[in-house]
Symmetry: C2
Subunit: 347 residues, 2 copies
Amino acid sequence: MPRVTHQPPDQGPGQAPTLDEVARLAGVSRATASRAINGGNRVSQSAQTAVAEAVRTLGYSPNPAARSLVTRRTDSVALVVPEPDERVFSDPFFVHTLRAVNRVLAARDLQLVLLLARPEDESRMLRYLGERHIDGAIVVSHHQNDRLAEHLAALGLPCAFVGRPWTGEDRVAYVDTDNEAGSRAATELLISRGRRVIGHVAGPDDMTAAADRRAGWRSAVTTAGLRDDLVACGDFTEIGGEEATRALLAQCEEIDGLVVASDLMAVGVVRVLEAAGRRVPDDVAVVGYDDLGVAERITPPLTTIRQPIGDMAEQAARMLLDQIDERRAPRAVRVVFPPTVVERAST
Amino acid sequence: MPRVTHQPPDQGPGQAPTLDEVARLAGVSRATASRAINGGNRVSQSAQTAVAEAVRTLGYSPNPAARSLVTRRTDSVALVVPEPDERVFSDPFFVHTLRAVNRVLAARDLQLVLLLARPEDESRMLRYLGERHIDGAIVVSHHQNDRLAEHLAALGLPCAFVGRPWTGEDRVAYVDTDNEAGSRAATELLISRGRRVIGHVAGPDDMTAAADRRAGWRSAVTTAGLRDDLVACGDFTEIGGEEATRALLAQCEEIDGLVVASDLMAVGVVRVLEAAGRRVPDDVAVVGYDDLGVAERITPPLTTIRQPIGDMAEQAARMLLDQIDERRAPRAVRVVFPPTVVERAST
DNA sequence: CAGATTGATGGAAGCGCTCTCACGCCGACA
DNA sequence: TGTCGGCGTGAGAGCGCTTCCATCAATCTG
């Protein structure tokens, strides 16, 4: 049983001061006070300082509800993550995205509201978005079934996706990397190194990035006349990588190369390979995907495909701001970044 | 260079429907429509259904700004984390807290707004809290210098802290575990196992949990007449645990027991110990703190002090809701949970 | 059956703010 | 000296909603 202790309550300050009181104290009208507070256009120097003074002595801060009732802006933006909490907090991908987005928004003094929606909360989240608590949304790690692109497009809510949505891709703005090209390059690198039995550890079936990377691998092995049936699905976690690798090794012992759809999974892949007595890269060469720090920290340092997550997220944030600023901006902009091969010791 | 493609903009729906239109369509007054929508007290069955019908056909959803302008509630609550993003996303402590808080809030249909404030953003964050965008705040992982308890108490904003604040502890509500007792128990366990040179890997100096745990260890070793100078500070991360352990080993080779202020650090501790050729627990016994899953997953499974994070966070959320519900509720409630020793293989 | 109670309703006030608009003042220009 | 343009200003409307209050009909009480 926890111990509980009480104390008499604090005396909270009574009513928050309103613009009216500020105006009265400054000896100007409410209109002038409002102008002075919002950038001071068309306000005399004297009025300006008088208002500033009044604001300070009263400890005034504008009521955001009243303000947004008339401006129809809320000055906050949602980062929508339709993903169970656990994964969000273990994948560096999210941290990088979050930081980049936050950087752009903070520069404009916009507040970031993090919306984590587990599948069962999805309707609640959609309702929240529909109620216009926020000026726009950035969507990350969306899945085939959430149909977020269509929902948001239908709401007419400014939004930008990181990663191409499955459906509705012609109705919303998004940034992406060319996942198919990246994965193809990874596979071709292995082929050029003489590998001939190349498997693929794919990501979740319901994400476009995973599907595109799988397609890139398949295209490369098919073109080279190699086996194209050595695929196992992970879930973008280390554990998922481990399980997929075990399945692949059980399916075919001769595997000498693995193209893995994320670095985090590759960590698990390497662990299982070594536990199975295969040396990396001598017996099996491994290429990851992402290059967000994990890749260079593990042993052996991982050859991987870098996607510029920070740039992508920043770009998405800016695309969102464009939409918010001028409601006539083209909605369905798409920006595709090129992936880069980063060679390290695992190939 | 990224590729960029445009598409003609979507045709967003014009103006969102207002309560007025709903009322007109339902053939009732705005007042009745409002009552019908908000729980339907004192509304006839026929009016009720007419309004519901109108809401559905119009796709109406109430404007939150207008609503909170008059109700003076925003139906959202902030989770304040004065911590650089990286740590938040690597420590299971946060994930557990977040989930528990979210669970309580979701049941009441309150929205959780995550406020990550790096030190340089602190004033921005305080301003945001002062502007009453939210009905209350739950504060986690606060530090000596942020003085959040005092700031929030001064604002008169309902709030609840997870972990005792450094200052202002008599002005705000908080939950905590008895960290000193927990750490003392951990140390006494080692002593009872015959360990005689017991070091402490402490947490950051500016957090009460770390200070209390250090005090608990010191109290136990002093009482037993053992050395009390074997302390090194980590930062609650694996890396921090590694560095602290190296420092301790350099300071004294005879260490045969380590009390570590968090499981995450203990992971690093064990790693360094084994790299230095010490077996756990044969040469050095190790006790962690938290028991959030990491402890049982590592080798050897970690003896640790469990704190019921989920319960604590839930309790904090409920304390916050109490304050929000009745503004006269006692502000400075405190609830202290007892820690539990969980023995595994590391001692 | 008169009077009191209850329940459903709409009118209207007002939450705190922004912004349009009209007004008065000033210096500039002819 | 008369007119004009621009600037600073305040009055006032109105954003979309909740809620107080008066009203009225229906029901209950003695």
